[in-house]
């Protein structure tokens, strides 16, 4: 049963991004500045692929997109879930930007009258029909950020990149209980906001 197996390297700092993520985890804010352009390029490129073409019923799994970006950048040696959480933290804002931009182009074509139900559940599967909601959410989040930046981040991570409770906690160095509490309130408030916007 002898097989060709690649010998594992001594350390997994073989890719620049893993080093940067490690620094980020250590609290180095500088690392974030370096990461962002790297990540943005990758995400943007990927997002373009998926959103290309005139498809009616277009579904986009955002978290998968970010995952893909992560894997391409970090390679197989970067599969440390903590690193990943931080990566996602960086990506969340970028992802939100990309989605909203996309939603705006989409939405412009779709606005019409009639009842609109709020159906945004998960950016795991975001479809064009929900683009107006994404825009509304974005605006609402901007509002929320004025008095609670952290809560806004939590929503970004949970919704736009699909991180789990633990992963979000890791990314923000908080406890999962805190995350849960914050998220509950944020959701309740955002829900109200969206309803309000919709009825305007």
């Amino acid at each position: 049963m002898s097989d060709k197996v690649k010998p594992e390297p001594e350390d997994d700092a073989s890719r620049p991004i893993t080093a940067l993520l490690a620094q980020l985890r250590g609290g180095d804010k500088q690392a974030e500045a370096q990461l962002i352009p790297m990540v943005y390029n990758e995400l943007h490129r990927l997002a373009r692929h998926y959103m290309r073409g005139e498809r009616g019923d277009h579904t986009l799994q955002t978290s998968a997109l970010v995952n893909e970006a992560y894997m391409r950048l970090a390679g197989e040696h970067g599969i440390d879930w903590k690193n990943r959480a931080h990566f996602f933290g960086v990506s969340a804002q970028i992802m939100r930007r990309i989605l909203v931009d996309h939603a705006r182009t989409r939405d412009a074509q779709k606005r019409g009258g009639g009842t609109r139900k709020i159906s945004l559940e998960n950016a795991f599967v975001y479809s064009d029909e929900q683009s107006w909601q994404v825009i509304a959410l974005h605006d609402a989040l901007n509002k929320l950020a004025q008095w609670d930046e952290r809560q806004c981040r939590i929503v970004e991570l949970r919704f736009f990149t699909g991180l789990s409770l633990e992963e979000t906690a890791e990314a923000l160095s908080l406890s999962p209980t805190t995350i849960k509490r914050e998220f509950q309130l944020a959701k309740a408030w955002l829900y109200g906001e969206l309803n309000q916007q919709f009825s305007e």
Partner: protein, 924 residues
């Protein structure tokens, strides 16, 4: 106006109130807000929203909106298919049941999304994939018929027509019933392996194999599993732009990440091993009910598979067969090279490879080369013609390969072939003559008795038929004799003269004369069963006989010669069915050796030709069965073999092959019944005892195998095969004493390294270490490059107390293994064993070093950890040894082997061992 401070207060109060039960909320809220009305109102509003929001921003993805189906019932597509009903919606489009009006059958139509259909490169790939998929005809693979186009309301529609499978998916079944219980799990697993095997043979990878692609249909007693969407799934998804050059469409977003192999996730090239990985996941889910790493987010699950080992299924299902556990874990190896190389191997591993296979696997029919017997008979003295001595009432006959005096190698081949034909033909008489048993050709060929004196006891015959051919001046002369197998006295003898033009009737003539000698009546009409009843061009026949003679040797050059000759035969006579059938045998054999799929195609088409010319020709059915069997289409092979057996019930090859195929396709009861029946009909046949015994042996039913092998030995006391088998049984049953005496006799007949080593093993387990050492010594001398023999020797010396000699033996073992490691440095397993040898030599540092090295490259399976445990123990690191042993056990390594390992004698007394092995009764 909202401020951060105000918001912070809201947050605090909200957190508290949201936790309290609804009845008390208002009062608590009022208290906490301390009469700030607007604050209270705001929080009340938030609470109301909280209660109303449901799964907002969280929870499972929104279900796809119910759209109207694209096609309505009654619509006619492509002027051929009439839609009956919508069956379901998949990721790629909708599936309809439709009536094929041209053929009057129901089919499934898979209609693709418009969008996908428009991309040109996707369509090209899809077309190619469909071409490949159409080639696979297998009962467990959903047939793909065609790619079609249609226009509806100006929109182009692309669709696939496929076999209609109405059942439930494996996913649905698992959801309903949790995991699948054992006999059924094996039944399903077998079908899945066969399906994958068949597709891989045809050159297609599935690439999206998962529970959702396995359909289960209740057909009668057992469920039929059908795999759908081979190779197609990948192309019928929202397409991606390939601005980067990836070898395959990686599609992380598309497809089902939960079942993807690591290399797929990393965007690397896919191979059959990737499908094997997915198969592993499906098997895992089948037996445990869940996938490995089922965690919170689906991506965590997927990513964890990339970096960590899954929990062995046996930890979740403690009564899981450890073979299954090992098999599944091996399929799930992250490195493709470490997995099984084919679905076939997976199935073998699941089914019946016991560890006690001391004897070689029987090479049914397509065996390797054998050397023709060259018996110098000298002149036959026909002294006995005046008083023909009586022939025994029970006739157990062996036809010894004929020899040739003068004549070319080609003629030699003919002579050889003639002896085989005679064997076959005499064998057919068994149907009507219950006192007759003919030793099958294969056994005669395998035996190669150096002198025919041993033929009797080696073959279980009491009569021998010998023949010396002489070819001179266009005349063929055959001196045939019937000899008493024990005394070698001629009981009958004749000279048969055949002019060349009578070659055609040679087989008939031979049969008539020999059966007359044997006083066996040839039933009227029997001769018409012989293949040569139509007019065959005489020249063709000669080529055929020669070709067949060569073919019987089953060596590479001889088979090639056979092909040339048989081809000539068919050129001379294009209706010569038997020649085509034999050509098919030849190609099937070559395919088995080289794995070149074109050879398989040829074998198949030649078999087809033979059948088209004469479908009552048993060898033609046999040839087709071989081709089918080799591609894993066991069900068709069984049908063909049953037909062949019907047409020629006495052919031992067919019978054994059918039994084997029943066995492999899981029809164990039928295999057993067939072999038992053969036994009943020919009770003098040691071969049949051996076959049935081997069947039980392979399935671990040693107590049933034992008496059968014993009888085989009684009937053919000098045949080493039965000894090997019985010896294996004894060792497996722990009957070391009996194994000892038996294997001693086996050595006497066939003194080879394996025999000595086995005998050594028996003595070792009997505690007779010096005797064991003596045997291992002999074995190692016969095969000095085999390090395992030296290791065994070392172990025997160690336990016999002779440390010096033990060290010498281990040192030799180490040297031999070093050579192997030097030539294949990536062999992790060898490195592990090398570490063990160092440990046995007391070279602790080196041992640990090698072990660490091995740990980096070896497959970390049960065997690895077991060896590691021994290394640690011998190096004095008990802690680590226990740890490794625990790992080994968790990975399903057999406890019996752990118990038998003398290197771990001290460790087993350690209290920590008891809890590892599951209770004090497990400790020795």
């Amino acid at each position: 106006m909202m401020t951060p401070e105000r918001w912070a207060r809201i947050k605090e109060i909200f957190a508290v109130v949201a936790e309290t039960p609804r009845e008390s909320r208002t009062s608590i809220l009022a208290e906490l807000c301390r009469s700030e009305q607007d604050l209270q109102a705001e929080i009340e509003k938030l609470l109301a929203q909280h209660d109303e929001m449901g799964g907002f921003l969280e929870g499972s993805p929104a279900p796809a909106a119910e759209k109207a189906s694209l096609l309505q019932a009654g619509t006619i597509i492509a002027e051929r298919y009439q839609i009956v009903a919508l069956l379901g919606r998949g990721g790629m489009g909708e599936v309809y049941e439709a009536e094929d009006r041209e053929l009057g059958e129901r089919v499934a139509l898979k209609v693709l999304h418009h969008e996908s259909a428009l991309q040109q490169d996707v369509m090209d790939r899809l077309r190619r994939e469909v071409q490949l998929a159409r080639r696979v005809t297998h009962p467990n693979v959903c047939r793909v018929f065609d790619l079609g186009y249609h226009r509806q309301a100006g929109q182009p529609i692309t669709f696939l027509s496929m076999e209609l499978i109405k059942g439930e998916t494996l996913t649905e079944r698992l959801k309903r019933e949790g995991k699948i219980a054992f006999p059924e799990a094996l039944h399903i697993a077998r079908q899945l392996c066969q399906a994958l095997g068949a597709a891989h043979e045809a050159g297609i990878l599935h690439r999206d194999f998962k529970c959702g692609n396995v359909m289960l249909l209740e057909t009668g007693a057992q469920v039929r599993a059908v795999v759908t969407d081979f190779g197609i799934a990948r192309w019928i998804q929202p397409p991606r732009d390939e601005t980067k050059s990836f070898a395959t469409n990686t599609g992380l977003v598309v497809g089902t990440p939960a079942y993807m192999s690591p290399e797929q996730l990393m965007g690397e090239k896919l191979t059959a091993a990737s499908d094997i990985y997915s198969l592993g996941l499906v098997l895992y889910e089948m037996v445990t009910g869940v996938r490995p790493f089922r965690g919170e987010s689906s991506w965590t699950e997927t990513l964890k598979r990339l970096s960590a080992d899954a929990a062995a299924p046996i930890t979740m299902v403690p009564d899981l067969d450890p073979r299954w556990n090992r098999t599944i874990m091996r399929c799930l190896q992250r490195s493709p090279a470490a997995r099984f190389a084919s679905a076939r191997e997976v199935l073998d591993s699941l089914q019946h490879r016991t560890r006690y296979s001391l004897s070689d696997v029987r090479p049914w029919l397509l065996a390797t080369a054998c050397v023709a017997l060259a018996l110098g008979l000298g002149g036959v003295v026909l002294r006995d013609r005046l008083w023909p001595p009586s022939l025994p009432a029970q006739k157990h006959i062996a036809v010894i390969p004929f020899t040739l005096k003068g004549g070319s190698a080609a003629d030699q081949a003919t002579a050889y072939g003639l002896a085989e034909s005679l064997t076959q033909n005499l064998g057919r008489l068994q149907v009507t003559e219950s006192s007759l048993w003919v030793v099958p050709w294969k056994e005669v060929r395998n035996q190669k008795p150096d002198n025919i004196a041993r033929a009797a006891s080696a073959l279980g015959a009491n009569l021998l038929i010998t023949g010396q051919m002489e070819k001179s001046e266009g005349k063929l002369q055959l001196r045939a004799a019937v000899k008493d197998a024990h005394t070698l006295r001629n009981l009958r003898a004749e000279v048969i003269e055949i002019p060349e033009t009578g070659m055609l009737r040679l087989e008939d003539t031979l049969l008539e004369r020999v059966s007359a000698m044997l006083q066996l009546p040839v039933p009227a009409g029997m001769l018409r069963h012989l293949p040569v009843d139509e007019t065959v061009e005489p020249g063709a026949y000669e080529f055929y006989e020669q070709g067949k003679g060569y073919l019987l040797h089953y060596s590479a050059e001889d088979v090639d010669r056979a092909i040339v000759l048989l081809q000539k035969a068919t050129e001379k006579d294009s209706k010569f069915a038997l020649a085509y059938a034999n050509l098919a045998f030849a190609y099937a054999w070559k395919y088995r050796v080289t794995r070149d799929p074109r050879l398989l195609e040829q074998a198949r088409s030649l078999a087809g030709r033979a059948l088209a010319l004469n479908d009552r020709l048993a060898p033609a059915h046999l040839a087709l069965a071989l081709a089918q069997k080799v591609t894993g289409d066991l069900d068709s092979a069984v049908r063909e073999l049953e037909l062949a057996l019907q047409l020629d019930p006495t052919d031992a090859e067919t019978l054994n092959l059918l039994a084997l195929t029943y066995d492999e396709s899981g029809r164990l009861l039928q295999a057993e019944a067939l072999l038992k029946d053969a036994l009943k009909r020919y009770p003098g046949s040691w071969v049949n005892y051996n076959s049935l015994g081997y069947f039980y042996y392979r399935h671990g039913q040693f107590t049933q195998a034992e008496p059968l092998f014993r009888t085989a030995i009684e009937l053919a006391p000098d045949n080493p095969i039965s000894y090997d088998n019985l010896g294996g049984v004894y060792l497996a049953l722990g009957k070391y004493k009996e194994a000892d005496s038996l294997l001693t006799r086996a050595i006497a007949i066939k003194p080879d390294a394996n025999g000595y080593s086995n005998l050594g093993t028996a003595r070792f387990y009997l505690g007779r270490y010096s005797d064991a050492a003596a045997m291992f010594q002999k074995a190692a001398e016969l095969r000095p490059a085999d390090h395992r023999l030296w290791r065994n020797l070392g172990d025997a010396y160690t336990l016999a107390g002779d440390r010096a000699r033990a060290a010498q033996a281990y040192e030799t073992a180490r040297q031999e293994l070093e050579k192997e490691v030097a030539s294949r440095p990536e062999n992790g397993q060898a490195l592990t064993v090398l570490a063990l040898y160092h440990a046995k030599l007391g070279q602790q540092e080196k041992a640990l070093q090698k072990l660490a090295q091995a740990g980096r490259i070896a497959e970390r399976d049960g065997a690895f950890f077991f060896n590691a445990a021994m290394v640690y123990e011998l190096a004095g690191q008990r802690e680590q040894a226990i740890g490794s042993l625990g790992q080994a056990i968790r990975k399903g390594y057999p406890l019996a082997e752990i118990r038998d390992a003398h290197e771990l004698d001290q460790l087993r007394k350690d209290s920590r061992y008891a809890s590892l092995a599951g209770g004090p009764e497990a400790a020795k």
